[in-house]
Symmetry: C2
Subunit: 81 residues, 2 copies
């Protein structure tokens, strides 16, 4: 089973990398682009386990303890079997 | 409309960051974790456009011209209206 975890800066935190990408795209004439936010992506492979609730719980612990700085970042994840 | 772009190293390229995270999780007793791959995530906000095919085409051009190094990286994306 795979867990896909997406970590982004909170909306209230300035995302300088994303802003730089957005400005570059504007200069390159991609006029449809209004904003870019950049973040991190983790694909975690987990041993198969029938108990999806336990897996969700473990992924949440991994994200909040290791992958995310809760002061400035937030995360979402989805499971893929 | 939003485009979510996920950029990862190709399977054949060593992902040192992902390996480090996986090793750290093993040491922290997350025994269920067998592998971790790390990548980049971009959330691109686009002006609304009825023509989804044109948007897909633009996102593919943005990804391949700006966001991705095609020698070592690959990408997937999804649109959210």
């Amino acid at each position: 089973m795979k867990a896909h975890v997406y970590v982004t800066l909170k909306r209230t935190v300035l995302d300088a990398q994303g802003k730089t990408v957005a400005d570059a795209l504007q200069r390159m004439n991609y006029k449809g682009v209004t904003d870019v936010r950049q973040g991190k992506y983790f694909c975690i492979e987990l041993e198969d386990n029938k108990d999806v609730a336990a897996i969700r719980c473990e992924v949440e612990r991994i994200a909040s303890e290791v992958l995310v700085n809760p002061v400035i970042e937030e995360y979402t994840f989805r499971l893929e079997s």
